[in-house]
Symmetry: C2
DNA sequence: CTTGATTCAATGTCCTGACAAGTTGACAGG
DNA sequence: CCTGTCAACTTGTCAGGACATTGAATCAAG
């Protein structure tokens, strides 16, 4: 039951020791070399085995704990956590979420224009009255079926947007390439029923359920760089998240 | 511009020093005593001022970094981050989410019984065929308005559930008091339209939009301890999350 | 057989000390 | 005036040791 693990520690490498140790354990756990429920050896022995100090080994373990791979309990020891718990922790990661929703099979651009921001858009983006913004409407489809309608507002400072680039790379890739660095996003997920116009676009009957997603994305300076108001067919789309305690 | 801050460190307290320091800074930042963009003093001076060692102070700072309150750059210093970025980071915390949804104004218990788990419930909870589970239906209301219908399935091993306790404390508090330790939950949020029966219970007309939430909660051992299938009135409820890059 | 206190093992906390690495700004040289 | 070098400052990394706190297993007493 002991966590025997052969790993190479390169002391001349620029990557920190604790990171090397943590990465080695993470790989072993994800590959199954360290089965769930396995109890690791105690800190002292592990530190001795890998020729690092206890604080360094603890730093590595703390990283594993934060990543949800192991659980430590004082007086008990360190246990590898079950795969169900650690599965798809990254689902709540901003990058994956954006990439997933930005690089889907096909998106066609319905509208690409600059308009004077309405009150709600101004408020969401934190802009002054009368400011011009991009207004973008896209239709996302998968396997020929229309999945949802995406409406986005962006400040002009994000760069230049073209329909071709948007359809080829997705909104978020285009923005990132022009220097936008996403730091966080605030989302509100709700429900509504399809209007006649929406139903017509999506190829469903009016009154069908729709998932609504409103998202405001911020860069690392705290500036809002995108506001999105999306609706998706409820029978083809749902929003998944993983909530962690801590 | 220096981060002058008078805080009391209680060395005889059972709460760790680094936690006291971190909490003091967090409070100061949230209260505005430390304005955004403020550059904090260097670690050495701060450690000296609060009479702790540098590793201890670093531990506190690491906590602040993880919580998204400050940014540190080697060779530069530590800066308080903008309020928009840090706002409501805790929204994606499991505990708050559960507490919020578990201690609402009023919940009345419609059904509390033990049944043989159906296939979907068995699969979600990871139970053997034929296992008995709690089946719970509750109606949540706020200000006299019905908000949603919550249907839950729980393994019998969670303890004993009584209608009175559930209505008084909420499901999650009852479970936690009986030893369940929530570690994470997986949620799927979608949309549907109200059936006649649902509409009748919620006091709305059939065909109105509903937000659906399916949640599986796991404890630290990776065992599923709850499966919930909830619907909420879309005009009164929406699901908010904050996505972080990292 | 149950219950209680004891003991042991493990992680949690905290300290001092040292060096590495990145950033910035000042200073000297062109 | 411009530019490249260097020194000072700050955070990052790492070591080794000491004691506290918690959980569980062990053992003795009822």
């Amino acid at each position: 039951m002991a966590g025997e693990l052969e790993i190479d520690i390169d002391r001349s490498s620029p990557v920190p020791l604790y990171h090397q140790v943590a990465q080695a354990f993470e790989q072993a756990i994800r590959e199954g070399a360290l089965a769930p429920e396995t109890k690791l050896d105690n800190e002292i022995d592990l530190a001795k085995r890998y020729h690092v100090s206890r604080p360094t080994l603890r730093q590595a373990m703390d990283k594993l704990v934060r990543d949800g791979l192991v659980v430590r309990r004082r007086g008990v020891g360190t246990q590898v956590i079950g795969p169900r718990v650690r599965r798809s922790l990254k689902l709540s990661s901003l990058y994956n979420d954006l990439q997933e929703s930005g690089a889907q099979p096909r998106t066609s651009v319905l509208t690409l224009e600059t308009v004077t921001a309405e009150d709600e858009v101004r408020d969401r983006l934190g802009l002054a009255p009368g400011t011009e913004v991009y207004h973008l409407r896209r239709l996302r489809s998968i396997d020929g079926q229309c999945l949802g309608i995406m409406e986005n507002y962006l400040p002009l400072s994000v760069g230049t947007l073209t329909g071709a680039a948007l359809e080829r790379d997705g909104l978020y890739n285009v923005m990132r390439r022009q220097g936008s660095d996403f730091q966080m996003a605030h989302q509100t997920v709700g429900a509504t029923v399809a209007t006649a116009a929406q139903a017509d676009l999506l190829g469903i009957s009016p009154g069908s359920p729709l998932v609504t997603v409103q998202r405001t994305a911020l860069d690392s300076a705290g500036t809002a760089i995108e506001f999105g108001d999306h609706v998706y067919r409820a029978d083809l789309y749902s929003y998944e998240t993983t909530l962690m305690n801590h």
